[in-house]
């Protein structure tokens, strides 16, 4: 029996053997990476629905994938499928329709769409108020939607198409969801339950209502013109995030299993840390303790020190609150050395892909390690004097990156940090 590769805590090493990405920049890793390192923005004027009355009229939509008849559930499933197919093809694992491990999916929450609700109301008798009891009377005519709005539907359909094993897990930790999906896959392999897992974050749920909801929380940028300049993480004039769509898939695999079948190891998920915040429903604890703890827990889980980190893939949403708190957090974790660590935000170009973000940005962090090239934080023309960070302003940079962390902080106080590297320690 060959020697087993183990991490510093004696656990199986988690390799990444397949990566797939879809964002507003395009479909697939190649298209995304060239634009991401070229400083190209995917943020545009919204064309999918009228934007009258809306304070924010821009988004990072997946226009290359969207077709007119697609609901948010359809589109989210489609981008998840495209990302998953790319990742599985690269990993060359299993056979088509049979993935040898479980699925961990971070989908958007689904609800009956306004279009359907209004169609039902139109069928109600003319003399009745089209309230919910009336909708229920005609609901059986919409049997085609029988499972369309159930939270498990995207996971169910993907499990069927990819042939993943066991019960597909759909999860939500708000803007950290994609990272949580990866974490669940890492934990399952570490427990020895499986040798491979498919982790997908996917969110293509832009609707008037989703936009309005975030708008009412004052979370969105209202600098609509020009759209590509709106997302400006860590800048003094940042005024909110830009809602966006996307998906990423990672094939996670026990390192020894990957090696034994001759798979190419694209990177290593060395550690993951989480910590939740009890301060407020949408704001971080002012002392930053939970986000600091999530980073420290991740480094401890990887068995590495802050000095071992060469790059930080920021959560960097471009909201006044997040970027201030993230600056506070990384300053506490990395001390004086933070001034010398490049930290950039992919969201400056692709916007905030919500439940997909943790997975999309983990994928981009892996590409950063592979290519030894750091994507920039674009739109950085008015630095915030209160935030002294090397944000890799505006232009990509070649750099020696041995190890990186990727941060994800969610509404509801859910914080996750991943530690990624190229080779087992």
């Amino acid at each position: 029996m060959t020697a087993e590769t183990r991490d510093k805590l004696g656990r199986p090493v988690i390799a990444v053997t397949g990566i797939g990405v879809v964002t507003s920049l395009g479909v697939g890793k190649a298209a995304n990476w060239s634009k991401l390192t070229g400083g190209v923005s995917g943020i545009r004027q919204i064309s999918r629905f009228p934007t009258d009355w809306l304070r924010t009229t821009i988004a990072g939509t997946v226009n290359d994938v969207y077709r007119d008849d697609m609901s948010p559930a359809d589109l989210s499933e489609r981008v998840a499928l495209l990302a998953g197919e790319e990742a599985i093809a690269e990993a060359a694992i299993g056979v088509k329709g049979h993935f040898p491990g479980p699925l961990f999916l971070a989908p958007p929450p689904l609800e009956i769409e306004w279009a359907d609700r209004i169609k039902m109301a139109e069928m109600a008798p003319a003399d009745a108020d089209p309230a919910y009891p009336e909708l229920l009377r005609v609901a059986r005519n919409f049997a085609a939607n029988r499972n369309a709005f159930k939270f498990g539907i995207i996971g169910e359909n993907l499990a069927e198409k990819f042939g993943t094993q066991g019960s597909p897990i759909s999860l939500n930790t708000a803007c950290a969801s994609g990272a949580s999906a990866i974490q669940l896959g890492m934990e399952a392999i570490r427990r020895g339950e499986c040798v491979a897992a498919l982790a997908i974050g996917a969110d293509a749920s832009l609707t008037p209502e989703s936009l309005v909801r975030f708008s009412l929380l004052s979370a969105l940028s209202t600098q609509n013109d020009p759209p590509e300049r709106a997302s400006k993480p860590f800048s003094k004039n940042r005024d909110g995030f830009v809602l966006a769509e996307g998906a990423a898939a990672l094939v996670l695999e026990d390192f020894d299993h990957a090696k034994s079948r001759g798979a190419r190891v694209l990177g290593i998920l060395e550690g993951v840390g989480e910590k939740s915040d009890s301060f407020h429903r949408t704001r971080s604890s002012p002392d930053g303790k939970p986000i600091i703890a999530s980073m420290r827990n991740a480094l401890a889980d990887a068995g590495v020190a802050p000095d071992d980190v060469d790059y930080i893939n920021a959560h960097g949403t471009s909201t006044p609150e997040n970027d201030k708190m993230e600056h506070l957090g990384v300053s506490a974790v990395f001390g004086e050395r933070i001034r010398g660590i490049p930290i950039s935000s992919n969201k400056s170009m692709i916007g905030h892909t919500l439940t997909a973000a943790g997975a999309v940005e983990a994928a981009f962090t892996l590409l950063t390690l592979q290519n030894q090239r750091i994507p920039p934080t674009i739109n950085h023309s008015v630095p915030d004097p209160a935030i002294v960070l090397d944000v890799v302003p505006n232009v990509a940079r070649d750099a020696k990156v041995r190890r990186a962390i990727s941060n994800s902080f969610g509404f509801g106080g859910q914080n996750v940090c991943l530690v990624l590297t190229l080779e087992p320690a």
Binding site: W114, Y132, L135, A148, G152, P168, V212, S215, S276, G412
Partner: protein, 394 residues
């Protein structure tokens, strides 16, 4: 992490239509009192409304209560009961490392939806004013109440559980998988202490609408599980159910007692073509059959009342031949929360060493006088099959 750790249930929080707390629920069942349901408020649908609960006792700040829809208040309340039962409520040194997995859905603002639909009817073109109405009518706090992960978020805020926070989505399977992952993490040494649970408010029009599209609801007269026939369906419940799962050694170190041991959790996804549910459930049963002492064991079924899943499950349970209870008759179907509610009732049963009286045509057997094991099933209404083994912790 090779040696598997024993997992105890050291805290239970349960509120349903039968009452507040595990004891009240158990007493209702043990007395053989009739089910508590409401066939008027949402007629023709039958629901099981929540028993009276004083939310102030677990959610003291009115400002917190105002920022939650009912399903979140129910869940935060039940989570508080579980933490109190486990002796960790108000103990930051323990709550700081308490992990949390919640199975959740969401809840809409019915009043806003209704007003917009009425106007759509009058104006004839919804697109022209939908944005305007949404901008004016939606309330930011209630958007947060719609988000599934904000039940866990509110538990962090109100009770201070901050080790970690994960929310699973996807109806009954979300509940089964939440318990499965919580159990597996503790068994493997990835967690010492995990709060796991769910909450469901079935007494609302928006969720009835989702299930009515699938024709999945019980209509007209109430009848117990097993008597609803082919055109039967689910009577949705109102419930919050949380469990504190804990590494036995951790519990013993702090002097906590076990209500029960949770030995096995299985979760599968059958394709659900002819015979798949039965085959999956048989396979799950076979994986634990050797550990079952047939003289001292029973089954608590989570059958929803919807066909064909309910009959398929009952056919396999009949083959197995242990005493059976269907809690759905009494507490209704609580979707994401149902599995945890049934684990709570199973824990009460093994702790007391007895089953409650049978209460419907699908219930069977009197139950042993020294019950020590309960198999809890969760054959979901449209996808997912789960099973757990709860044992007396000696």
């Amino acid at each position: 992490m090779n040696a598997r750790q024993e997992v105890w249930i050291t805290g239970v929080g349960l509120i349903t239509c039968l009452g507040e707390g595990l004891e009240a629920n158990w007493q209702h069942l043990a007395r053989g009192d009739p089910p508590a349901y409401d066939d008027k408020s949402f007629a023709p649908y039958v629901v099981h409304p929540l028993a009276p609960v004083n939310f102030d006792s677990q959610i003291p700040k009115k400002s917190d209560q105002r920022q939650m829809e009912p399903w979140q208040r129910i869940g935060v309340y039940a989570a508080g009961l579980a933490l109190g039962d486990a002796g960790i409520a108000g103990k930051p040194e323990l709550l700081d490392t308490t992990d949390m997995i919640v199975a959740a859905g969401g809840e809409r603002d019915i009043a806003v939806d209704t007003a917009i639909l009425a106007e759509a009817r009058k104006r004839g073109n919804a697109n022209s004013f939908l944005n305007e109405r949404l901008m004016n009518d939606l309330r930011p706090t209630l958007f947060l109440a719609q988000l599934p992960n904000l039940l866990a978020g509110n538990i962090s805020i109100v009770h201070g559980v901050v080790g970690s926070s994960r929310t699973f989505l996807g109806e009954e399977s979300a509940g089964v998988d939440a318990v499965r992952i919580a159990h597996a993490r503790i068994a493997a040494g990835q967690s010492e202490l995990t709060l796991v649970g769910g909450a469901y408010n079935g007494a609302r029009w928006d969720v009835l609408l989702i299930f009515e599209q699938a024709g999945a609801l019980l209509k007209g007269e109430f009848s117990p599980i097993g008597k609803r026939g082919n055109s039967g369906g689910m009577a949705l419940g109102n419930m919050g159910a949380f469990l504190v799962l804990e590494n036995r050694k951790h519990a013993e170190r702090r002097g906590a007692r076990a209500r029960a041991r949770i030995s096995t959790v299985r979760s599968d996804r059958a394709v659900r073509q002819g015979g798949d549910i039965e085959a999956t459930l048989r396979r799950q049963w076979e994986s634990i059959a050797a550990e079952i002492n047939r003289e001292r064991a029973a089954v608590i079924s989570g059958a929803s009342g919807l066909e064909p899943a309910t009959s398929a499950e009952h056919a396999v349970l009949k083959e197995i031949g242990l005493p059976i209870r269907n809690t759905g008759t009494y507490i209704g179907h609580g979707v994401e929360a149902q599995f945890m509610a049934n684990l709570a009732i199973a824990a009460a049963a093994v702790e007391r060493g007895k089953l409650y009286p049978a209460g419907g045509p699908a219930d069977a057997g009197a139950g042993p006088s020294d019950l020590s094991q309960v198999v809890v099933t969760a054959v979901a209404n449209w996808r997912g099959e789960g099973l757990a083994l709860i044992e007396r912790a000696d």
